[in-house]
Structures are given as C-alpha cells and as structure tokens.
Symmetry: C2
Subunit: 334 residues, 2 copies
C-alpha cells in the first residue's frame, strides 16, 4: 500500500508510491550536457563580449576590471518598471497594472559552465548579486514580493544554455505566499515557534533525509517531497527575508548550493531543474513566523490531470532513498 | 504594459502578457492525430475484445448487449481499496495510509475516437458512468474527496491513445480543495451568495469570454485564465456535488463538453489537454457556498521557475481573443 504524507509547511499532500518506485539512479538523465558546450558562442547574448545584445544593464559585479556577474533587464519582460501600481475592480474582475521588475542575472562570463561545475567563489558571487538586487528592489514602494529563480534546461522552461537566473519583483503578493504566511502565523500562534525552524529541527533529529549540512545551512529532501529529488535548503538561523543573509552565510550557502547541485549533476546526469528562493513579502522583512529558503525541483516527472485536479502529487521516489543516494554521490573537486 | 488579473474563486494571479501575445491560431498544434489512428489495436488493453488485459472490471454500461463504457481498477494504482484509513503523527511528520480507489474509465470500445469526435450520445454515456462511480464511491466512509480527470496526449501525461479517463477517491481532502472551500465560505459569509454563481453571472453579463452556452451549462475562458485557452464549464444551477447532476443535465453537458472540446480540436489541431471535475468534499454534498465545475487545461505552454516560485502564471493569450476565436470555429457534424 502507498502512503500519503502531508507537508506541515505548505499543507500539500503527496502520495509516496513506493510500489511504483525505482532505484534512485533509474532517474538518471545520462546527459552531462554542459561538458560538451563551447566556452563562447558568437550568437549568445550572455557571453562575454556580447554585452550589447542584452537588455539594459542594471548592475555588474567585477573582479580585475572584468565582470563576473551581470544583471540586465529582461528583453521580453512580464513586468515593466514604468508607471504606477493601479488596482481596478469591476464586480469580481480584479486587475493590477503590470508594474515591477523582470531582470536576468547572467551568472558567469563563460558559456559552458553551470552552477554544479562552478567554483564556490563563482557561486558566492551570484548569491551576492541576488542579495544586492533583492535589497535594491524591495525599497520600491510598488513592489510587494520578489522571486529569484533559475530555469536549467529545456524541460525546466529555458532554451538558453548560458548560465543565468531571473528575478521578478511583483506589485502583488501571490496567493501561495499569502496562504503559506497565514499557515505559518497560525502555527506560530498555536505553538510559539516558527514552523520552518521546527521542521528543520525534526529533519535533523531524524537525519535520514539530509543531503548535506554545514555551519549555517542544511540541504535535505523533505519528508513530503512532492516529486523525485525535490530538495530544500534551509538557513539554520531564523530569518524571514533573504536580503538579511550575511557575508559569512553567503560563503556557506555557496558551498551547500554548489555541492547539492553537483550531487544532482553527477548522480542523475545533469537533470533539468528549477530552483527558487522563497522569501517573505517585502513589507514583512522581520517576522517570527516566516523563514526564507531555497527550493530545488528537478524535472524528472510530468504532472498530469491527477495533480492538476487534486493539488496532490504522486512521488515515485522514496525521499529517504533519494537522500541516501545523493549523500553517496562523490563530486570530486569540480 | 502587461496586466495582472486575479481569479476571485481561486485567488490566483496571472500576468496577461499581451505584448507577448500571439494570434489565437498561432497556438495550433497542427496534429489532428486521432484521425489517423486504427479502429483496433491488438496490444491495446482498452480495445473491444481485449477486456482480459485490464485490471478487474468494476462497472460497465451496455447497449445492445455490448459495453459502451467500462470501468476497471488501475493496474498501477496510486491508492488501494484494502485496509483502514490510519493517520500517523510523529512531530510534524503526518501520514495517512494510501487507501482509496484509482479507476480507469474506458470511454469507448473504439481505439480511434476522442471526445471531440464522439457523438453526443457517447459523451453522455461517459458522464453517466462518471456519476455512477462518483455516487458509489462517495458512500465509502474512508473516502474524503473524489477527483475525475482526463489526460489527453503525451504532453498531458498519458501514453495511451485509447480514449480513457481516471477517477481517484482519496482518504484526505487535498489542501487546494480545502483552501478554495474556505475562500468560498468567506465570500458567502460576506455577501450571502456563491462566488461561483456570481462569477458566472458576471461572465454572462460581459459576454466576451463565453465560448458556448446552453440551457444548463456555460463554457467560458475565465477572466484570469492561468494559461492559453484554459476553459471552465459551469452548471447554471447551484449545486456543490457533481453526483447531483440530473439526467437532463447530463444530456446538456454532453453537448457543451463535446462542442467545447471539438472547437479546441479543430481550432488548435488536437492539442494535448487535461480536464478535471472539481466537486466538494464527499462530506459536504449540499452546501450554499461550493459549486462543482469542469476545468479544461490545454497543454500549450510550459510552466517554469516563475510559476513554481510565485504561484503566479504568465498567460500569453488574451482570454477575450481566445474565446472569440473558439466561438468562430466551426465543428461541423463530427
């Protein structure tokens, strides 16, 4: 018989279909794609030397007078920085003007790299830029919520090979963020503690779903992971907003993020994935109940009508087995 | 500038990216696949004559001593009918045994058909079987929620060509259903009316997003459709549970469902899609605040990190344009 598990933070239910389950390495994509990419492509707008091909540059992080990470406006933005935030209500038809920011973070001058293959210093640079953009854009009074995310591979929604991520600063708080915040407040009121801190303590006490733990961060496959190898990275220190991350924590997160992604890369053959940094709404920067974190979702299975209709998921990989597998993957020095 | 729209029922926000928008027929898949399928395949477990290849049969609807619709247990069930519903709590780790039902509804003896190409009588038979299964399984005290859904095409999560749909009867109420119910209760408390009835009245008053309307049902693209050609079919009569549908309403829904799917089929070249019947939890069969409906989601775009991170969607098709396009599609007699 299968087992249904509920995530105490998101309230989502997942069917852990162990009767359908495969061995962890059966999920391997056997691609190891980035190893065969060129260092530079003349037609890639994100490659070093092709800076004129991107949207307007809004930030760059330099070393030795060369950029290491660049941020440009998205050329096809879903949100635009011009204009006011205007709400319109006609009966139940509610709209808000699409003001906000949609930026592209070019993570490295080189075309052939991916986070899993970068140095810790490179990954720390990306995280520093995330923090700079987050801290800058949250001061705009039209911005209610900021999402930083990465699409890696065609199955995760990008056709661009060059390593990059995106930032969207939206004029409203998405309902998922609102809903999770309400649940977190309720848990805090009932128990006096943060449901994320509690989850992390419980996961560390059990231990069998931990992938990698460092001084400041823990990477683990949650008890009720929605899909195979769905991974969370939690800061140990309670903190609701990502831009409060310290310099020391950035160096530590670079190690945990790169190590986790490298284990996925080497263990599963460079699978397509998304990651996203979930942080509190910009007006709620310091709260006792919300806790920022990073979620990685490898694209190893397709959601269909079952998930669509129920909001429930079927996960064919046992989280404990997946975590044990990733713990055993050697990533070498690269 | 784009526009953000909020769905008053689900609270979901969508960015209507009209600057990115394409003409409605640019979404065409140009496949018209089913026209070339054989009537029968020897290796298809759902074809007439191959009944021994399915899981155990639990129901059949016959005409002229031949089955027209069959229901069998899923051979790879996510939920199993044996055993008790047992909740287990350890700290924040919550689980429920995977009891329930996971059935396959074989919609027609013929391999080459799809709902868009069936007769109204065929589609009415499928709906009668849905009602029979729903009404039967809801009496099991271990069942908290029933989802009926269809995956059409590989992009929608099925590799089986033969027309079929599925039913999942789950031992818990999924959080999406809970969340929507709570929102619907709040709206009812605030206004004294059903938010679904109000939405339907508003859509009919505006009119430009209606695809097809009959005596008992209305098919429309909602104001805040999450993805291109995302379609809802609402019963005009307020009713919270699908199994309360009357015989007359079934005949009428067959016309509306087939017509809507045929317009998608002919207008967009047989796109992959999912549909799902959303009904109230089984213990809440008659409520003032919930209203069952059918949602159709063509798989014309891929969700990526943006959607994953924010719970917001980007829709590159203007709902009003999509609906006008579908209204104009002729479906002939077939």
């Amino acid at each position: 018989m299968t087992e249904l598990r509920q995530n105490a933070i998101t309230r989502e239910w997942v069917i852990i279909a162990s009767e359908r389950s495969r061995r962890p390495d059966d999920f391997s994509q056997e691609k190891v794609r980035s190893a065969t990419l060129p260092l530079y492509r003349a037609d890639c707008p994100f490659c070093f030397g092709n800076e004129h091909m991107t949207g307007e540059e809004v930030f760059r992080l330099c070393e030795d007078e060369k950029w290491r990470v660049r941020v440009a406006l998205n050329k096809y933005p879903a949100l635009s920085p011009e204009g006011d935030r205007i709400r319109t209500y006609h009966n139940l038809f509610r709209s808000v003007s699409g003001v906000g920011f949609h930026e592209v973070i070019i993570e490295h001058p080189r075309h052939d790299l991916t986070t899993a293959l970068m140095s810790f210093a490179d990954v720390a640079n990306i995280l520093r830029v995330y923090r700079q953009r987050y801290a800058t854009l949250r001061t705009d009074p039209r911005v209610a919520s900021i999402i930083i995310f990465k699409n890696h591979g065609a199955g995760a929604g990008t056709s661009l090979e060059h390593p990059h991520s995106q930032l969207a600063a939206t004029p409203i708080v998405p309902y998922e963020v609102r809903f999770r915040t309400q649940e977190a407040i309720r848990y805090f009121d009932d128990t006096g503690e943060c449901v994320f801190c509690r989850t992390l303590a419980d996961e560390l006490a059990v231990g069998d779903r931990i992938i990698f733990a460092s001084e400041h961060f823990v990477s683990f496959i949650p008890y009720a992971a929605l899909s195979p190898f769905h991974t969370w990275i939690f800061p140990r220190r309670h903190c609701s907003s990502f831009d409060n991350i310290t310099d020391e924590e950035i160096l530590d997160l670079a190690i945990v993020l790169k190590t986790t992604l490298a284990k996925l890369y080497h263990g599963l053959g460079d699978p397509d994935y998304n990651y996203v940094i979930r942080s509190s709404p910009t007006d709620e920067r310091r709260t006792d109940y919300f806790h920022w974190y990073l979620a990685i979702v490898p694209r190893l299975s397709l959601t269909a009508g079952f998930e669509l209709g129920s909001g429930m998921y079927i996960n064919t990989a046992l989280p404990e087995e997946s975590a044990a597998f990733l713990r055993s993957v050697e990533i070498g020095n690269g």
